[in-house]
Amino acid sequence: MRHNVKGRKLNKTASHRKAMFANMSAQLYEHKQIKTTLPKAKELRKYAEKMITLGKKGDLNSLRQALKFLRHKEVVYKLFNDIAPNYKERNGGYTRVLKLGTRKGDAAEVAVIQLVEFDNETEIKPKKAKTEKVKADKPKVEEAVVEEAVVEEAVVEEAVVEEAVVEESEEPKEEKPEITEEIEKKDK
């Protein structure tokens, strides 16, 4: 009998489910670890691990099958080139689901799902600090651009005074790529 093999429906239509797990798989390969509800994490294992198996095969047909499901070329290439080779010695069980307890708002059980071979690289930054940094940088950059335009039009004498201001305001602009690099490093 084929009872209980179709998996959870999660209150979604088949297309909705498929799209969601394709997105979640892509995010998992990108970030090595994602946080979600426990039923979704458990269900995601099916999809994510099948893609890794395709990646281990690595032939053209499996590449096309992976593209059919994941639909993002960059993610599929990353999966085939960077992620799947690490699982050569492992037969299944490429992901790990860890329970985090219940969520405040709806008491839903929350879990973390991570790629097993990459669990040392996932130092997660608290989300709030990350968004604050990005927000704080953006307006400064815009100001710097505006002030530069003003300096070009202004008289030379004024330009000397304003150059000092511009130099100060340019500093955050230079910092910005470094910070995004840091975030990228930590995400890896």
Binding site: Q33, K35, L98, K99, L100, G101, V112, Q114, D119, N120, E123, I124, K125, P126, K128
Partner: protein, 60 residues
Amino acid sequence: MPVPKRKTSKAKAKSRKNHWKLTAKSTAKCPNCSAPVLSHRVCPSCGYYKGKAVIKVKAD
């Protein structure tokens, strides 16, 4: 059809519910930060599970 003759008194209802209790969840001690944790879950105070940092806790 048989029906109750009397309304259940407050005392009767309450004494019946006397055996209807919540039980405290049993906790273990986190090996990393020695805070009480539920078993099979990531420690909410330090974010460790089985000796590894899983999540970054805000207070850290």
